[in-house]
C-alpha cells in the first residue's frame, strides 16, 4: 500500500532524524545559545569582547587562522597540481611507484606528523643539525616553528587533496576534448588555459575547500609548533582550559561561521557552470618522455620527493627505537633497541591507550556503519519532504571544525538529559565514541550515497517483482552491491578515529585516553621514544586497515575523500 511505503519511510527516517537532531543539531544550537550568555545575562557581550579593539588577541587569532588557511591552500595547490600533471600526463621510469608514494601523508595521523616535523626540522631537528655539522656552521642554518612550521606541515599533509582530486579529473578528461582543441588550431598554451584548466575547476575548487576547512580546523600543528602564535582553533581550547566556556562558545561560533561561509561560497562558485563531461571517453593516455635530460630530471624529482615524503615516517620509526633517557644532550641518538615496544606488552599502563583507541574507534565506527547505511538509504532511495534539511544536518559535522564539535558536546552533555539517558556524558567513557561517531557521520554517509546512487532502482524492483520483501531485498541485493562503497567510508572513518586528536584532547578522561593523548603526555615528559612508538602503532594500524581493505575488498579508501 502507498501508506505502507510511507509508513516504512517514516520508520527508517525517524531514528535518523532523532540522532541527527539530538547529537548534531542540538549541541550546535547549545553552543550558539551559550555564546549569548555574558556574565549571567543574555546579550552580545561575548561578541563585543571578541571584536573589542582593547584586547586584540581574539581578532589576531581569527586573522591568523584565515591567512594561514589561505596560504595553506596556495602552497598545497602549488605542490599538488603540478605533481598530478607530471604523474598522470607523462610516462617515465618509476612513475607508478612515485605516484603511489605521493599519497603517503594520508597514513600519518596529524599529531604524529607534526611530531615528526619537529624532530626533523625543528630547533634541535636532525636535518638542520646535520647540515650544520656537515658544513661546520656556527648555528643551525634554518629551523621551522610558528607560521612557517604550521605552513610546511599543512602543505605536506594537505597537498594530497589537490594531488588526488586533480589526478582523478585528469584521468577522466576525455582526450578527444584536448585533441578537438588542437584540431581547431589552438596552441598548447591555449588548450591548457581554455580547455584543460576550466575542466579542472571542480577538482581545484573542491580541493581548495577541503584544504581551507582543514587548515581552519587544524589543531595539532599549532598546538605543537605555534609557540606564542595564536590561531582560533587553539584559542577555543585555551578558553575551555581556563574555564571561560562562554568565550569558548563564542569563538566556536565565529570559527564555524568562517568555515561555513567559505563552504557556501565555494559551492556557489562551482555551481555557476556545468563542467560535466558529455560522454565518457577512453582514459587519458600518458605521453612518454623522450628527451633524456627531462626524463632523468623527472626521475630525480621523483626520488627526492619520495625521500622528503618518507622522512617523517622514517623519523618516527627511528625515534621509536631510541631508549628514553639516552638521547638528552647529544645531537644524535646513539642507543637503539626495541624497549619502547616491549614496554607496551609489559606495562599495562602503556598498553591501555592502544586498547582504548581500538575500542573507541571500533564502537564509533560500528555506529557510523549502521547509522550511515540507514541514513544513506533513506536519503537516496526514499521520497520524503525535507530531504535537503536532513542532508544539511548530515553534512554539518563536516563543516564544523573538530574543536567546535568537541565544544558542542561539552556544552550539550555536561548535564543530565533524555538524550544521554539521564546521565552526564562529559567525563565518562562514552563521550569520546560519541564524538568520533559524530565527526565521521558525513564521511560514511557520503561514501554510501555514492555507492547507492550507482545502484539502479530497477534491481530493487526486480527483486520485489520476484516476490522478495523489503528486508530480504536489502540484505541480498542492495547491501552486497554497495558494500565496497560502504566499507571504503567506514574504514577511513576507523582510521581517522584512531588518529583523532582535537576532540580527544577536549573530551578524554583517564579511563578512555586514546593513543593521541598519550603521545602528547609522553612528549610533555620528553619521552620521545615512547611517543614515537605510539606513533608507529598508529601508523601501522592505519596501514594494516588500508592494506586489508584494498587487498580483500578492492576498496580504495582515498576514494571517499
Amino acid at each position: 500500500m502507498r501508506n505502507k511505503e510511507m509508513r516504512f519511510t517514516m520508520f527508517l527516517l525517524i531514528p535518523v532524524v532523532l540522532v541527527l537532531v539530538g547529537y548534531v543539531l542540538y549541541p550546535s544550537i547549545r553552543t550558539l545559545w551559550e555564546s549569548f550568555f555574558y556574565k549571567g545575562s543574555i546579550g552580545v557581550g561575548n561578541y563585543k569582547a571578541f571584536f573589542s579593539p582593547e584586547s586584540l588577541s581574539n581578532l589576531e587569532a581569527l586573522w591568523n587562522s584565515v591567512y594561514i588557511s589561505l596560504l595553506s591552500v596556495l602552497c598545497s595547490a602549488l605542490i599538488g597540481i603540478p605533481l598530478a600533471f607530471i604523474f598522470n600526463k607523462y610516462e617515465f621510469p618509476g612513475r607508478s611507484f612515485f605516484s603511489s608514494v605521493a599519497i603517503l601523508p594520508m597514513v600519518l595521523p596529524s599529531l604524529v606528523g607534526v611530531m615528526a616535523f619537529m624532530f626533523l626540522y625543528g630547533e634541535s631537528g636532525l636535518i638542520p643539525n646535520a647540515i650544520k655539522d656537515l658544513f661546520g656552521l656556527e648555528k643551525v642554518p634554518f629551523k621551522i616553528g610558528g607560521v612557517s612550521g604550521i605552513l610546511i606541515v599543512h602543505a605536506y599533509t594537505m597537498y594530497v587533496y589537490f594531488y588526488m582530486t586533480v589526478s582523478s579529473t585528469i584521468r577522466n578528461i576525455d582526450p578527444s576534448l584536448e585533441e578537438a582543441a588542437f584540431n581547431l588550431g589552438a596552441s598548447r598554451l591555449t588548450v591548457f588555459r581554455k580547455v584543460t584548466l576550466p575542466l579542472l575547476t571542480p577538482a581545484i575548487v573542491g580541493a581548495s575547500l577541503l584544504v581551507f576547512m582543514t587548515s581552519m580546523a587544524s589543531f595539532s600543528a599549532p598546538f605543537l609548533l605555534a609557540g606564542g602564535f595564536r590561531v582560533l582553533s587553539l584559542q577555543i581550547y585555551f578558553s575551555k582550559i581556563n574555564g571561560n566556556m562562554e568565550m569558548a562558545a563564542t569563538q566556536s561560533v565565529i570559527l564555524s561561521i568562517v568555515s561555513i561561509s567559505f563552504l557556501l561560497f565555494m559551492r556557489w562558485y562551482q555551481n555557476r557552470k556545468d563542467y560535466r563531461m558529455q560522454a565518457k571517453g577512453i582514459g587519458a593516455h600518458r605521453s612518454e618522455v623522450k628527451n633524456l635530460f627531462v626524463k632523468w630530471t623527472m626521475v630525480a624529482i621523483g626520488v627526492i620527493g619520495v625521500i622528503v615524503l618518507l622522512l617523517p615516517h622514517a623519523t618516527i620509526l627511528v625515534l621509536s627505537l631510541v631508549l628514553d633517557g639516552t638521547w638528552t644532550w647529544q645531537t644524535y641518538p646513539s642507543v637503539f633497541n626495541f624497549e619502547n615496544y616491549m614496554l607496551l606488552f609489559k606495562d599495562p599502563a602503556i598498553w591501555d591507550p592502544v586498547r582504548h583507541s581500538l575500542t573507541l574507534a571500533f564502537i564509533a565506527t560500528l555506529g557510523n556503519l549502521v547509522f550511515g547505511v540507514i541514513t544513506s538509504y533513506v536519503l537516496v532511495k526514499r521520497k520524503f519532504i525535507g530531504k535537503n534539511l536532513v542532508d544539511s544536518m548530515v553534512m554539518l559535522p563536516w563543516a564544523l571544525p573538530a574543536t567546535v564539535v568537541g565544544m558542542n558536546l561539552i556544552l550539550a552533555f555536561n548535564e543530565r538529559s533524555i538524550l544521554t539517558f539521564g546521565h552526564i556524558l562529559v567525563g565518562t567513557f562514552w563521550i569520546l565514541p560519541l564524538a568520533y561517531f559524530i565527526r565521521h557521520i558525513p564521511l560514511v554517509v557520503r561514501s554510501t550515497n555514492a555507492a547507492l546512487e550507482q545502484l539502479d532502482d530497477s534491481l530493487e524492483e526486480a527483486a520485489r517483482n520476484l516476490g522478495a520483501k523489503w528486508f530480504y531485498t536489502f540484505r541480498r541485493i542492495v547491501l552486497p552491491l554497495v558494500l565496497p562503497g560502504v566499507l571504503s567510508g567506514t574504514l577511513l572513518a576507523f582510521v581517522e578515529a584512531v588518529g583523532e586528536f582535537p576532540t580527544s584532547v577536549l573530551l578524554y578522561t583517564l579511563n578512555n585516553r586514546p593513543i593521541s593523548i598519550e603521545i602528547m603526555n609522553q612528549l610533555r615528559m620528553f619521552n620521545m621514544g615512547q611517543a614515537a612508538a605510539y606513533g608507529m602503532i598508529q601508523i601501522s594500524l592505519i596501514a594494516i586497515v588500508l592494506f586489508i581493505s584494498n587487498k580483500f575488498f578492492g576498496v580504495k579508501a582515498e576514494r571517499s575523500l
Binding site: M1, R2, D456, S458, N465, L466, A468, L481
Partner: protein, 368 residues
C-alpha cells in the same frame, strides 16, 4: 494465468497526469502490447500493473482480485526490465533461482526448475557464469528465464529489446513469442517499435500523451486506425486534411482542404468520423496506384515525381500533387528507378483503401 482489468485508471505525478482515465481489459493468455512514443504513459501503466506505482484514481484487477494497492512482491508477476536488472553479484543460476528461493522452494526443486527454465531459453550451458560475462542477448534470456521460472500469472516486458542490435532483436522477438505461446501466459509488452507490436501482438493498445487512442488487433490498428495519430504512428501513411462535401446512402464525397474543385468518392464503410468534425483522409503508400499513363475516373490526380527512393524490395515514390507530397510504394519492378524528377505521373486513391478519420493532431499537422 489471469486476465487483467483496468478501470478508470489515472496516475498523476504532482500536477502532471501521466495516465488519464484508462480502461482496458486484457484477456487470459493474450499477448497484449502497449505501443506509443516515449512519455506516452505506457511504462507508467505497466509499472502500475507491477505494483511499483499506485493509481491516483481507478482500480486494477487480476481476474476478480482487486490488486490496486497490493505490494509488488505479492502480485506474482514476472517482469523483464529494459536494462534487464540482473543482479550483478550473482551467477546466472543465482539470478534465476532468486524468485524460487524467496518462495522457499526445496533446494532440489530449485535446481530442476532453474535448469528447466534455462533450457527453455537455451542457456543451460552458461548456468555458472557471472552475468557480467554474458552478451546482451544472453542477458536478455536470463532475465526472461528469471521472470518465467516463478510461473507468474502475468509476464510484463518493458521494452525488452531496445538495447539489442537489429539482428538479435529479430531473433529474440521470435524467442519471446515462442515462450509466450509455450507457457500460454498473459503477457503485456511495452514498446515504441511498431514493427515489434504488429508482428507479435494479439492485440495492441496505442498510447499518446497519457491517453489510450485505440485498442485492437494489429490488422485493425493498421487498416482502420482510430484517428490520425494512430494512422501516422503506425506505419507510413498519407494524411490529407479534408472536408465532407455531401453524402448519399452508399458513398460520401469529400474535398481536399485547399482544393475546392476536385471531389473524392469514398464508400461509406470507409469512414470512421462524425459529420462536422475536423477530418483527415489516410491512405497507405502501398495502396496508392501510380501510372505513367493518364488515369481516368474518380479519385485520380496528376502529379510530378519529386524523388524516387530505392530500398531494395520496393521503391518509394514522392509525388507532388498541387501543394501536397504524396508517398507511394511499389514493388521493385525496374519501372521507376530510372524516372527523373519533374516527370509527370498519375495517381489514384482506390476508395476501398481510403480511410477517413478524425483529425486529433490539430490543424497543420498533416502538411509536410
Amino acid at each position: 494465468m489471469s486476465s487483467i482489468t483496468l478501470k478508470h485508471v489515472t496516475k498523476k505525478f504532482n500536477t502532471f497526469s501521466a495516465v488519464k482515465e484508462l480502461n482496458l481489459e486484457i484477456k487470459e493468455g493474450e499477448f497484449f502490447t502497449f505501443l506509443g512514443p516515449s512519455g506516452c504513459g505506457k511504462t507508467t501503466t505497466l509499472r502500475m500493473i507491477a505494483g511499483f506505482y499506485y493509481p491516483t484514481i481507478g482500480t486494477i484487477h487480476f481476474g476478480d482480485k482487486d490488486m490496486t494497492r497490493v505490494a509488488p512482491e505479492k502480485r506474482n508477476t514476472g517482469m523483464v526490465f529494459q536494462n534487464y536488472a540482473l543482479f550483478p553479484h550473482m551467477t546466472v543460476f543465482e539470478n534465476v533461482a532468486f524468485g524460487l528461493k524467496v518462495r522457499k522452494c526445496a533446494k532440489s526443486e530449485v535446481i530442476t526448475r532453474v535448469e528447466e527454465a534455462l533450457r527453455k531459453v537455451r542457456l543451460e550451458q552458461l548456468i555458472d557464469r557471472q552475468v557480467s560475462q554474458l552478451s546482451g542477448g544472453q542477458q536478455q534470456r536470463v532475465a526472461l528465464a528469471r521472470a518465467l521460472v516463478i510461473e507468474p500469472d502475468i509476464l510484463l516486458l518493458d521494452e525488452p529489446l531496445s538495447n539489442l542490435d537489429a539482428r538479435l532483436r529479430d531473433e529474440m522477438r521470435a524467442e519471446i513469442l515462442r515462450l509466450q505461446r509455450e507457457y500460454r501466459i498473459t503477457t503485456i509488452y511495452v514498446t515504441h517499435d511498431q514493427v515489434e507490436a504488429l508482428t507479435m501482438s494479439d492485440r495492441i493498445a496505442v498510447f499518446n500523451t497519457g491517453e489510450c487512442q485505440q485498442v485492437g488487433t494489429p490488422k485493425q490498428i493498421y487498416d482502420e486506425p482510430a484517428n490520425d495519430f494512430v494512422a501516422s504512428f503506425i506505419g507510413e501513411t498519407n494524411l490529407l486534411s479534408i472536408q465532407l462535401a455531401r453524402e448519399d446512402d452508399e458513398k460520401i464525397y469529400v474535398r481536399l482542404e485547399n482544393d475546392e474543385t476536385t471531389e473524392m468518392v469514398i464508400p461509406k464503410d470507409r469512414s470512421n468520423t462524425i459529420k462536422d468534425t475536423p477530418s483527415a483522409l489516410s491512405i497507405r503508400p502501398e495502396a496508392v496506384e501510380v501510372s505513367t499513363k493518364e488515369l481516368e475516373g474518380a479519385n485520380c490526380f496528376q502529379g510530378t515525381i519529386e524523388m524516387v527512393q530505392f530500398t531494395g524490395a520496393a521503391e518509394h515514390l514522392f509525388i507532388k500533387v498541387g501543394e501536397q507530397t504524396i508517398q507511394a510504394l511499389v514493388l521493385n519492378n525496374h519501372l521507376w528507378s530510372e524516372r527523373k524528377k519533374g516527370e509527370s505521373v498519375w495517381i489514384r486513391f482506390p476508395g476501398e483503401y481510403v480511410w477517413i478519420i478524425p483529425n486529433v493532431l490539430g490543424e497543420g499537422a498533416h502538411e509536410k
